[in-house]
């Protein structure tokens, strides 16, 4: 059996391997090593949760702490990407995108188009998303639908350590701007990860579980909850196909459509708020392109249209649960015209 490491270690390893391979890869962000200018240890933090820990000593001068000015340094990463570097910039929490969104969506995302195809911007923006940390409304959002809406961005959401490593390596080698979304609750998840370098291509969904009765399309942390729900349904004789989109942009429409053509039933599970979300995006896709196969309403399982609450009593019901997913699967299975 292959070696098991955590999602967090997988990300760190991807960074280390790419930095070793290609000297144009640099890492930057707030306390990405930590301790810059301080009297104590350098590499004191390695990122707020330690994801970039150790890179500082391995790659002198290429792990750069930044002031708290996200427009400034995310924009700098983008600018550096137009001049020979392949920066991996960290937006600590995706919730902070509002102070630097312009650099991402009006600059990086649009250079190539606005400039008539004459620009390449190989920048990666790593960022942490999702609820479950009791971190409240400004540190628990998903927000990937906002990036997905923007042409010119690629949006990547690994659900496993294996994908985290392979997709981060792909992101770094990719010549388009990539938003790399890391779920904070997944950092400690263990999984098999090859030691050698490899890439996971974008735009290829992962069929996590095969089944012919109903399709569940999901992404990010919800993949695991959906899979648990599917496993539980199996006992009731319902064979659920679980599809992990892996990237929301580009989107693997074919895998989704092929599955629904076969099962005729769809539940979309998305941790984010519901309006103009990935859940609605996938539902809309299928309602247009696989309508003929549909035997039942498409159910969307999402967080409600409220900000993430602080108290565990509320946050635990804010986040979609396995039971919520089972409920939706059950309703869709039972539907009769």
């Amino acid at each position: 059996m292959a070696r098991k490491i955590t999602y967090q270690q997988a990300i760190n390893e991807a960074l280390a391997q790419e930095m070793a391979r290609d000297s144009s890869v640099i890492v930057m962000g707030e306390d990405n090593h930590g301790g810059e200018g301080s009297p104590g240890e350098q590499d004191a933090w390695g990122g707020v949760l330690g994801v970039t820990k150790g890179l500082y000593h391995k790659f002198p001068g290429r792990v750069i702490d930044t002031p708290i000015s996200e427009s400034g340094f995310i924009g700098a990463a983008i600018g550096a990407a137009t001049n020979g570097l392949r920066p991996v910039a960290e937006l600590m929490f995706v919730d902070f995108m509002g102070v630097c969104f312009d650099q991402i969506f009006n600059q990086a995302a649009k250079f190539r188009y606005m400039f008539g195809g004459k620009a390449e911007t190989p920048v990666v923006i790593r960022t942490m998303y999702g609820a479950g940390f009791r971190a409240a409304a400004q540190h628990s959002q998903c927000l990937y639908s906002l990036f997905t809406h923007i042409p010119g961005l690629k949006v990547v959401m690994p659900a496993t350590p294996y994908d985290a490593k392979g997709m981060l390596i792909q992101a770094i080698r990719d010549n388009d701007p990539v938003i790399f979304m890391e779920h904070k609750m997944l950092y400690t998840l263990e999984g098999e990860v090859p030691e050698e370098s490899y890439t996971v291509p974008f735009g290829e969904a992962n069929v996590v579980r095969e089944g012919d009765d109903i399709t569940v399309v999901t992404l990010g942390r919800m993949v695991h909850l959906a899979d648990q729900a599917a496993q539980a349904m199996q006992k009731n004789g319902v064979h659920v196909e679980v599809i992990d989109l892996r990237t929301t942009s580009p989107l693997d429409e074919a895998t989704v459509l092929e599955s629904v053509e076969r099962t005729g039933r769809l539940v979309v599970v998305d941790e984010s708020n519901p309006r103009c979300s990935m859940a609605s995006d996938i539902a809309g896709l299928v309602a247009q392109k696989a309508f003929g196969a549909l035997k039942a309403p498409i159910e969307q399982v999402t967080a409600p249209h409220v900000p993430p609450p602080f108290s565990d009593a509320l946050e635990d019901i804010y986040i979609p649960t396995v039971a919520d997913i089972q409920g939706a699967i059950g309703r869709v299975m039972e539907f009769r015209r």
């Binding site: 707030e30 306390d31 930590g34 301790g35 810059e36 200018g37 301080s38 009297p39 104590g40 240890e41 350098q42 004191a44 933090w45 707020v48 702490d65 002031p67 708290i68 000015s69 427009s71 400034g72 919730d95 902070f96 509002g98 102070v99 940390f133 009791r134 971190a135 409240a136 409304a137 400004q138 540190h139 409600p304 249209h305 409220v306 900000p307 609450p309 602080f310 108290s311 565990d312 009593a313 509320l314 019901i317 804010y318």
Partner: protein, 324 residues
């Protein structure tokens, strides 16, 4: 000056600082047991700043705070019971358990909220101050922010706006030397944050943040000027935090004994006590009485917070909109 403060005011100052210290020390202890959820940033060590400034304020004056907001809240008069319950995620909390440590607010007291976004308060405070000006009130609005936040675009924009609109706003840079693990010597491109004031056409003042009296006096001048229509001030308060950036931080970026030395030499409560007892303004017994009362208050707040109910499932969907 110390001499200008009545005995009551001195007692109030001490009580406020002691309340903040005990509140934070207690959270530090309780966090270690794993019972307190989320990110908690403690203000211990910086008490003289919030206290020296907020003692000039009434409830119609506004303050905007930061992720490290407990001290500002307490100094502005937010109910300690509600705060503790909030941090414990209870329905009886200031924000009914929906906000937590990083979002404690009480607009009825002019407390616009702690803020999870570094630099978020700068623009908001300009707005509160603009409202005061247009409504012809003589209130003031105070923006607290850190050395790290001093590099954020929102703070710069707010400084400029405050002068352009000649607002009754004070920008208080609480420079504790670090933004998370990053030194302000690295992140701030000039020697003092107060040096930035001239770039925004306002006076810049540096004050020792361990010294309640120095803070109180400098803040008093700036607030007085603002109330009279004299415009904004940038006040840099140099101080230190005693705990890590947030609970759980090992603080390896700091020098060994850095905090111990500061506590020993400059602690705001110790120096305050020494000074007022030395000058015969207050007795040790009076201070000790406050210590005991505060200890009891904090104990009671934790006791209640632990036993208070959590929000109910139905609370999830309320308070999103005023209408619909």
């Amino acid at each position: 000056m110390a001499s200008e403060l009545t005995k009551d005011r001195l007692l109030q100052a001490y009580r406020t600082m002691r309340t903040i210290r005990d509140f934070e020390d207690r959270l530090h202890a309780d966090f270690a047991t794993g019972e307190i959820p989320g990110f908690v940033h403690l203000y211990a060590g910086e008490e003289a700043s919030a206290t020296g400034i907020c003692m000039h304020l009434g409830k119609d004056d506004y303050i905007a705070s930061t992720h490290r907001g407990h001290g500002h809240c307490i100094a502005k008069g937010v109910d300690v019971m509600g705060m503790m319950a909030e941090i414990w995620g209870k329905k009886t909390g200031t924000c009914r358990g929906k906000g937590g440590s990083m979002h404690i607010a009480d607009l009825s007291l002019g407390m616009m909220g702690a803020n999870g976004i570094v630099g978020g308060g700068g623009p908001l405070i300009c707005g509160a101050a603009l409202a005061m000006k247009l409504r012809k009130l003589d209130d003031v609005a105070i923006c607290f922010f850190g050395d790290g936040a001093s590099n954020q675009g929102t703070i710069f924009e707010a400084l400029n706006l405050a002068t352009v609109w000649n607002l009754p706003a004070i920008f208080v840079a609480e420079n504790n030397g670090y933004a998370e693990a990053t030194s302000s010597k690295y992140s701030v491109a000039c020697d003092n944050i107060a040096d930035r004031a001239s770039a925004f056409g306002m006076p810049g003042v540096i004050v020792d943040g361990f010294d309640f009296f120095a803070v109180h006096e400098a803040a008093g001048e700036a607030i007085e000027r603002a109330r009279k229509g004299g415009g904004p001030t940038l006040l840099e308060v140099k101080l230190s935090r005693y705990y890590g950036h947030f609970e759980g931080d090992q603080q390896k970026y700091r020098a060994p004994n850095e905090v111990a030395h500061i506590k020993e030499a400059k602690d705001c409560l110790t120096t305050f006590a020494k000074r007022v007892t030395g000058a015969g303004q207050l007795t040790q017994a009076e201070l000790s009485a406050i210590d005991a009362e505060v200890a009891a208050l904090i104990e009671e707040s934790v006791r209640r917070a632990k036993s208070d109910p959590k929000p109910a499932a139905a609370d999830l969907m309320t308070d999103v909109y005023v209408s619909y």
